[in-house]
């Protein structure tokens, strides 16, 4: 059992938790993920490590409530326990050698982009962070990003936060204004990553994307998390989760992510009803 040491709501659907897991806290690097189960009969879900505190022995996760399991997790409080917390899994993001980079985070993907931005900042790279949200109520991690970015470019769909527009608009503007990036790190919804890659391909600008497909074991055993990269089948859990964005088949990834949509919706509704019942008792 793994203790929830702290819990904080970042926006109405995104929560930050610190989990007691000293061994993982010592080892996890930016870009790696963990797999958790909330209860003993729960499903296993992957979440990217948002940060670690090796001294306190805690691992930070940031998650958006999107399904039954994240909803269940969100109902757990500080001091309570979850059943499984295993990691660090996957390969760390390769950050060595970069001098000037652009880190792009979209929505809850910012939680995954942040540790990458931090790691790059810590090795002395100049970091430009472009973050995109639907509106200002959904903004997360603003101060954290500012702390590790040389330039912070906020964007929103409706213009209520930063500049109105998409992250691709901001990136194109920067490139056209003469900014020269060694690499773009892009983490967010698949559709956003797809369009960022389409843009950077035009400029022949190296782009790394972090994939978050459906997973079970996270050690290469089930083959569920397969993604097509350069026409080859890769397992995100052991070969990734980072891949060369220009080689990822995003359409097939988007399609695969909808595999259990109906089941997930049903379980989410059941979970909602369960909590409604509990709260009226």
């Amino acid at each position: 059992m793994y203790k929830i040491v702290s819990k904080e709501c970042l926006n109405p659907t995104v929560t930050r938790m610190n989990i007691e897991a000293p061994l993982i806290a010592k080892k996890a690097k930016a870009g790696q993920f963990i797999i958790l189960r909330v209860t003993d009969d729960g499903e296993r879900i992957p979440l990217t490590v948002a940060g670690t505190d090796p001294e306190k022995g805690t691992v930070e996760i940031i998650f958006q409530v999107v399904g039954a399991t994240t909803l269940e997790l969100n109902h757990k409080n500080e001091g309570e326990y979850i059943s499984t917390f295993v990691g660090p899994l996957g390969k760390p993001t390769e950050i060595e050698g970069y001098k000037k980079v652009c880190v792009i985070g979209g929505g809850a993907g910012c939680a995954i982009a942040l540790p990458v931005a931090k790691a790059l900042h810590n090795i002395g790279a100049k970091v430009t962070s472009i973050v995109g949200f639907r509106n200002k109520d959904l903004v997360i991690l603003e101060d954290d990003f500012k702390a590790c970015s040389d330039e912070y470019v906020p964007m929103s769909d409706d213009g209520t936060y930063g500049t109105k527009g998409l992250v691709t608009d901001a990136l194109e503007k920067l490139i056209d204004s003469g900014e020269q990036f060694d690499c773009v790190f892009c983490i967010g919804p698949l559709i956003m990553m797809k369009f960022v890659c389409q843009l950077t391909a035009k400029y022949n600008l190296k782009t790394i994307c972090s994939m978050n497909p459906i997973m079970i074991d996270g050690t290469g055993m089930c083959g569920c998390c397969r993604v097509l990269v350069d026409g080859q089948m890769k397992f995100a859990c052991v070969d990734g989760p980072d891949f060369d964005g220009h080689k990822i088949d995003f359409d097939s990834a988007m399609m695969r992510n909808t595999m259990y949509r109906e089941f997930e919706r049903k379980k989410y509704d059941e979970e909602c009803n369960l909590f409604k019942k509990e709260s009226t008792l």
């Binding site: 499903e43 499984t84 295993v86 990691g87 074991d217 050690t219 083959g223 089948m233």
Partner: protein
């Protein structure tokens, strides 16, 4: 009195029509009288070849002699000297290729009216082993052991059959063993792979609890190589020897078009969702596709398990697509028979060439967009023998046809998991990714690190993995005693 009946006592089973819709165990086991009757068929050979056929060399004639006398607990004590998991082996070993395949009875002719009409069936050693183990579990208290603790720590990586048997032998010798398991429960393939109806999970957990009683520590949620390296275990955590039993986890695919369609599974994924995550239960939080028509590609035990799980999850038609003929089918005979009885349809000499995806419209207009809607196969004929000695299947040009299915499960075998290799200096593998070991001692190319099971051999059987774990335990003991 020796029972000269030529045939085995049949194994009582659940009715095929009923069991095709439930996950309860198929084979129900012998009762005491049947076990005694079957045991009396054993000729108690002076130089028993069955023992040589057993990868862990159980003293088969002596345990059977005790069964014949009705001394079931004594029989268990004999098996326990050689095997750590008899209730499991009695259920999943391919006995026809091992102990029973060597039984002298197979050479005894059956005569009718002075003419030879065939040979006798072997003694049902596997069924007797299962009976004895089940009897012990239901009746006897723990085995009394006189264990002198040795002050040496051994790390076992992976809690599948090889790790469990290695830990069991070492713990019985007095070593302080810790098993590290990546998943949230111990048991490896016995838990995530082999289905409940063939190997009830309570039995696996009973055997694992037995190990805990021997003092073996089991730590779950630990992916060695990622959270702690083997070097860290040995240099910082005080382990003096290490056994790697990480299995052959990585599933293979065919590299044909359509393998990324929705509704294509590796057998590992399909079985893990079903068995480990209990997706067959209505209240399970893990999703699985309840397809109407399912094709499983492959002909091994894993394929049989996937076929029979798909049927139990409610499929109407379940096809086994195998590129060779029935004769070459690598699965255990009993599983194939059971699958046939349950209504699995076998397509021998067929090889998939493409998985057909629904590409009508797009994701918004068509809810089935990207889902499997058929499996295109080509018919095969058998040509000259290949490297494996089996006749090579050759495609018949122009014989393609489409099997109407909405789910395809690939059961083509697995490769060893590269996590340990990638994170451990000094560990070498062959071109298939299998760990290289000294064949005599099972020591890897890294000193004091041993390995066994599928991680060394590639996908094989539970009992071979157990045999390897046992052998490694012997040499770990030899090394640590000489220290």
């Amino acid at each position: 009195m020796i029972n000269m009946r030529p045939t085995k006592n049949p194994m009582p089973t659940q009715d095929p029509h009923k069991r095709a819709h439930n996950f309860k165990e198929v084979a129900l086991g012998y009762d005491e009288n049947t076990a005694i009757d079957e045991a009396k068929r054993c000729l108690n050979c002076k130089n028993p070849s069955c023992v040589k056929g057993c990868p862990v060399n159980i003293n088969i004639p002596s345990f059977i002699a005790e069964v014949a006398k009705g001394e079931f607990e004594k029989a268990y004590q004999i098996i326990d000297k050689s095997s750590s998991l008899p209730a499991i082996c009695g259920r999943v070993c391919p006995q026809e290729k091992q102990c029973e395949g060597q039984c002298i009875k197979l050479k005894v002719p059956v005569m009718e009216n002075g003419k030879k009409v065939g040979n006798m069936e072997p003694v049902a050693i596997g069924r007797l082993e299962r009976f004895v183990a089940d009897y012990h579990r239901e009746h006897a208290s723990d085995v009394d052991r006189d264990i002198t603790k040795k002050n040496h720590k051994v790390a076992i990586i992976g809690s599948g059959p090889s790790g469990l048997s290695c830990a069991s032998d070492l713990a019985k010798m007095g070593y302080d063993c810790t098993i590290f398991e990546a998943l949230h429960v111990a048991g490896g393939v016995l838990m995530y792979g082999i289905p409940e109806f063939r190997l009830p999970k309570d039995i696996v957990q009973y055997e694992i609890n037995g190990l805990k009683k021997l003092g073996v520590h089991i730590v779950t949620d630990m992916v060695i190589g990622q959270v702690l390296s083997i070097d860290e275990l040995m240099e910082k955590e005080g382990f003096e020897a290490c056994f790697i039993g990480t299995g052959a986890g990585l599933p293979r695919f065919m590299n044909i078009p359509g393998e990324n369609a929705k509704g294509v599974y590796s057998a590992n994924e399909f079985l893990t969702r079903t068995n480990l995550m209990k997706a067959y239960k209505d209240d399970s939080k893990t999703p699985i596709e309840h397809a109407k028509n399912v094709a499983v590609v492959g002909g091994g035990n894993v394929a049989m398990d996937a076929l029979r799980c798909a049927l139990r999850l409610g499929a109407e038609h379940v096809y086994c697509v195998y590129r060779r003929s029935e004769e070459e089918l690598p699965a255990r005979k009993e599983e194939v028979e059971h699958a046939k009885e349950e209504g699995i349809i076998f397509h021998f000499l067929n090889n998939p060439v493409e998985i057909i995806e629904d590409k009508e419209g797009n994701m918004k207009t068509n809810p089935n967009y990207g889902c499997v809607k058929g499996l295109k196969c080509i018919k095969m004929e058998l040509g000259e023998p290949d490297d494996s000695g089996r006749r090579r299947p050759v495609p018949i040009p122009g014989s393609e046809f489409v099997l109407d299915v909405d789910c395809v499960i690939m059961a083509l075998g697995t490769s060893p998991n590269p996590l340990i290799k990638n994170t451990t200096k000094g560990i070498e593998t062959n071109k298939h990714g299998c760990l290289i070991v000294n064949e005599e001692t099972n020591e890897t190319t890294k000193p004091h690190v041993f390995a066994g099971g599928d991680a060394v051999t590639g996908a094989a059987t539970v009992i071979l993995a157990m045999g390897a774990g046992k052998k490694a335990a012997k040499y770990i003991d030899e090394y640590l005693s000489s220290k």
